[in-house]
């Protein structure tokens, strides 16, 4: 445990977050954009678990548990919204889903 400084975990977490940001910005498929959001949530989880473990307190891990709950709920509702949009527009390309634009 003392061998690996906590900075390594935090840098890995920051890197995964940056990759997730890139994915949200460049991908066109709404489902893949959702996957990139899951990636960003996971990078946050990694930082929380790292801090919780190095502090010897379980509060961070309990927070990760709640983040996972919210991520599951978000994935279920978000994918249902994507299915509803696909039924109306027959596409999941986020460039073509512009019904609110005027």
């Amino acid at each position: 445990m003392n061998l690996i400084p906590i900075e390594y975990y935090l840098i890995l977490s920051a890197f995964m977050f940056a990759v997730g940001v890139t994915g949200v910005l460049i991908r066109k498929n709404a489902i893949v954009v959702f996957m990139c959001i899951e990636l960003m949530l996971n990078s946050g989880n990694l930082a929380l678990v790292a801090f919780s473990s190095y502090m010897g307190s379980s509060a961070g891990q309990i927070f990760v548990f709640f983040v996972m709950t919210v991520a599951a709920a978000e994935a279920a509702v978000g994918l249902a919204i994507i299915i509803a949009i696909f039924r109306n527009k027959l596409t999941v390309n986020i460039d073509e889903i512009n019904i609110f634009k005027w």
Binding site: M1, L3, I4, I6, E7, Y8, L10, L12, A14, F15, M16, F17, A18, V19, G20, V21, T22, G23, L25, I26, R27, K28, N29, I31, V32, F34, M35, C36, E38, L39, N42, N45, L46, V49, A50, F51, S52, S53, Y54, M55, G56, S58, Q61, I62, F65, F66, M68, T69, V70, A71, A72, A73, A75, A76, V77, L79, A80, I82, I83, V92
Partner: protein, 171 residues
Amino acid sequence: MPFEIILFVFFALIAAVSSVVMVTRPNPVMSAIFLVINFFALAGLYLLLHAQFISVVQVIVYAGAIMVLFLFVLMLLNSKSEQKLLSGQKKIKVFAIVLAAFVFIQIAYLIFFSSPSRSLSPDVAASIKAGTVEEIGRQLYTGYILPFEAAGFLLLAATIGALVLAKKKFN
């Protein structure tokens, strides 16, 4: 070289590479597969951090339930792969990568500026105790009982919301 460092480098490399590959694959199914690999690597890192409960929940909930949901929706919508991802829209891509690099540099600078390892004194026994199912379960059912109930209610609301949204007709 100690075994712990080898394991950390192994899992960290898998996590970093699979996240990059996931963003760059044009086929969404390949993206999902590499995201699952990334989740497994993260579960290994959680085990290195003595977080047994979170590690198992990561595999069951994320790599199991959530990714199966994603793959089901991909199967239902048979979306074509984005062939033009790596050809067109040079400007947006450059902007996105510059923005992400900026975010990364900012976070990395803050991490090294605050140097959290100076103020944290890692105690292996305490960290092993904090990650056990027993400890997390006790905390969840005593100190965090209200957020726990709220999370259950949130999941119920999400289930009903997903059912209503994915129904055939809105009346």
